[in-house]
Symmetry: D2
Subunit: 327 residues, 4 copies
């Protein structure tokens, strides 16, 4: 099979990662990479690490003879784009922004499209039969993977989460906090208790553990690295560590990209891969769940391709056996 794919917003970080994956995907042909500001330029002018790998150029045209369209736009811009641009209804859409993630946004009668929240570990069966995917956020993915088995067991109540993210999580726009002189060797909290991913996390937990008011206090930190998210969530539970490990291992046993580890995990285990790792530790009644993922891959473009694979009946892992950076 050859899936014809188009990319909107190919000059950004998630667009670039998508291209890096898709040019080596055995079942995908990239039909076009759209970028308004770079139309006509070689893709390697922007993603210069692809030198020697591709001679594709950015285009301002949007071909309609494609099977899937990836939207790699800023948050809020996907809706605008779909309203202004006629897209053949038979084309499946995978949106990497936050436009269609929440329940209230998933049905879009005006666009004549309905979106499924694309976290395969939560919604794999629904994704397989979906036409449109709302790809989860990076923090949302990594936090949820640490909590879903507990929600599924019905034991969540109060959660205290700290997470740290690399600079690519903030996109490529220049800002004081993305200046190397500031960010190198630095740590800062931001959006304390108010991060925009809290909504989608809450809805997923509610999907598995409905009827409980689950309180999630999340403190995100900016880290002095480029890729990856590391999370530690603390909850209270009487379940034993062994029982908990069994619950987690059962929950993920059919999910190839999420691994439960009984050895200490660390961020670089998953950098430059589509994998997530989870580790549990318990003292008294306090359980700490550590989880890690690459914000641009499992947290964005890798998961988008995983979703595409599911949408088109491919093995979930196709094109996603990425060599870890490791160091």
């Amino acid at each position: 099979m050859s899936i014809k794919a188009g990319i909107i917003g190919g000059a950004g970080y998630t667009g670039g990662e998508l291209i890096r994956i898709l040019i080596n995907h055995p079942s995908v042909h990239i039909s076009f990479i759209h970028s308004r500001s770079n139309a006509g330029k070689p893709v390697t002018d922007v993603h210069s690490d692809l030198i020697g790998d591709t001679s594709l150029e950015f285009t301002s045209e949007i071909a309609q003879d494609i099977d899937v369209l990836f939207l790699c736009l800023g948050h809020g811009e996907s809706t605008k784009f779909l309203r202004e641009t006629s897209i053949n209804p038979s084309i499946k859409i995978i949106d990497l922004a936050n436009d269609f993630r929440l329940r209230k946004d998933r049905k879009q009668p005006e666009l004549n499209r309905e979106f499924v929240y694309g976290l395969p570990e939560l919604n794999r069966e629904a994704i397989k039969t979906a036409s449109n995917i709302a790809n989860p956020g990076c923090f949302a993915t990594t936090i949820q993977l640490g909590l879903l088995p507990l929600a599924n067991t019905g034991v969540l109540k109060e959660i205290y989460t700290t997470g740290i993210t690399g600079s690519t999580g903030a996109g490529q726009k220049l800002a004081a906090t993305s200046h190397f002189s500031w960010r190198a060797n630095n740590i800062q909290a931001y959006k304390t208790l108010t991060h925009q991913h809290l909504g989608e996390i809450g809805e997923s937990l509610d999907q598995l553990q409905p009827g409980t008011e689950i309180e999630l206090s999340f403190v995100p930190w900016r880290g002095d690295f480029t890729r990856g998210i590391f999370i530690s969530s603390t909850v209270t539970t009487d379940l034993s560590l062994d029982e908990l490990y069994v619950i987690f291992e059962d929950f993920y046993k059919e999910h190839p990209f999420t691994t439960v580890s009984r050895a200490p995990i660390f961020l670089k285990q998953v950098v430059n891969t589509n994998k997530a790792v989870i580790q549990l530790e318990k003292v008294g009644t306090k359980l700490v769940i550590h989880s890690a993922a690459d914000n641009l891959l499992k947290g964005a473009s890798g998961q988008a391709v995983q979703n595409m694979n599911l949408l088109f009946g491919l093995d979930e892992r196709t094109g996603l056996n990425l060599k870890p950076a490791a160091f």
Copy 2:
């Protein structure tokens, strides 16, 4: 005044920082720097950044005509050292290890010495009249500074703390987790809920808020930087943010090294200084207290000199107006 100071364990990280401070301290003369393994070598053989600044050599002798002795040894080694080495009773001792920090360890009848827990923001008056100081741990210092005003108000109950520390916090011994190839761009949790500083933190909170069982769940992380600690602690309280800021500002108003900031703080504000910064954020009933300090300075050798200044009646800040690294 000229205080004659001796240093035991001058080849390690805290010993080195102490030397860096004391060679520019206007009221201190370094009598000797003891290092068993480096005796006879120039100090700059080990601390080569001091090239051009000092011609001191490490010694194996311990002169007794000094006023103060700093112990910069590994944890547990201070007790051993003092048992095996006769130190003139008139010499004040400042111990940077964890040997004498806990209540049960402060009175040492065998050594004929009694130690005061040397956190000036908690015990300044007691320090001024003390003879021996147990210098607090680095995580302990930074976490406590974020919590003391709340303990003093009597509102603490459950605390969820995440902290991140630089590589110098683990000392200079070689280990898999201190290898550059591993630690660069990496994050890992360690000693989850079991960090050895929990004891001293608990006792300090109990000193200000006695009779409450305060639960502190602390998840420490290894960070990919060399210096500094950043902490976010989450607690539940009905006090308003304004009330809380007033409480914190009042608590620290006479303490020159701890500043309460209404602007967002970040780690590099305090790197290479003896300062700590604190910021508060509140959403609903959840209060997050961020705090940051340099683990080798306010968290170790800088605070040791601050304590020395207090012991000898000097202005607390003498010799500690350090230029921030800033970048």
Copy 3:
């Protein structure tokens, strides 16, 4: 075709990278991964980023029904290993150490083997018909790629080269200069003018430009990053920049992993890939050639697989379309 491969020394950095590549190589089956010190342990105990990707275990056995054996041992240990271990003569050997790189070491009558210097851009035809490969050094590869077209044109005389390498270039053994606290944010020269790769570079230049005494002054630096080598070599020539670009582009036009760039190159263009990039700049008679490669891939394990592909008649690129780390 399925090539059966064995790996000796699978616990080190180059062994790990080789595993990372080979587990996804479509034409290779890993028969065994030998590690004396780790025999019986899962490979993921050492290379924990492979969690979820492989259930292979290190072995102490060396199976003889394989097609190719990779030696990922310390320098000097390959000779010792081959002398002490009987290896079926039909098994091809690819040695990643420096044991057989120099002319004087390539014929090994005692071992009944003859090695070809495995730089495909220099010796591709010879590699295709070889039985044993001496895989080039990392600095040697990156420096040579910047100089071979000039040697081929016969214009080299005096070369001034500075290069910087990541921490993985020094292997995983612990050392003062591999401690994170030392190496972070640091730069140091080492092996100034005496680097062990000068020999193989000199012989390659002599192969293309025989009879000239070419002087190469090489200053290597330790960099504060984990992966990659960046080189700037300065030479004197009357050829114009345009002529030079044509010479370089011609030289590499059939070589898929080495790209000549007219835009400014940078290290991260090639990190986590098997690619090398080259850029030229000229002012007056001075030509500066910049080149960059990943020391563990094009500079070691990636090139080893490229050589294996050539040895077995596969497309050079098989299994080496690696997603760049990019950030």
Copy 4:
């Protein structure tokens, strides 16, 4: 003595470093810190690491009852500023930009001022009696310190220099190459053979070794750290390493901030200090001179204060005994 100092351009990197030094300088009172864009704001709004250290505010006024005025403006803006702003002729000026460094720019009849090139190791006596100082560039300082003793011996002819600089060398303006995601773990050459500091270096070498056409091929690199410059220069000479060390040690023996080291030097030896270190290595006729300095201190604001000390008859080191960052 109390020197009254004004600062123009106090919001930038060099302005900030100057403030960090001067607020602890025992003989200086900061009269004002001028910043057009920040007038009225606390200095800590911009330089937030100074929290707790100063309550100064940026001003738009320029008081005339000062002794010295530091210009911390962009290159080319100092001339403009002095033409547009009346400055009392008795006020000494120290310019940190490149406006007055070259011979042709040092005499400014229109401004009625004459500048001395402020490299104390070259021009200390002239600085002591000067009224206006052109403070050297950061690369210029570090490269010259490695070459001046050779120029003084009259042996320079061809010099091949590579240097690497931290991100603060490029100032605080946002740019693609200052984005953390790009610069982290990266290396790139820039301004190859055309760096703007070549002029001032050439004039200094000519001052000590007049009449020789000295060729300096300089390749600057961007490094993935914030502070510091590391240089390796290669020259050809028949002098022995011992003779050379004596020449260097003699040249710098009265200069407190420049140290010749017979042990290997590294960048972090001098970070956050006003010091420079130099090391020599020789193989055959090739001599490599390594030198390192902090670009913001010995390469900018620290040297500016050193020059101020000389201008006002103070010990050169006053206020410049800075604790090294060390890690």
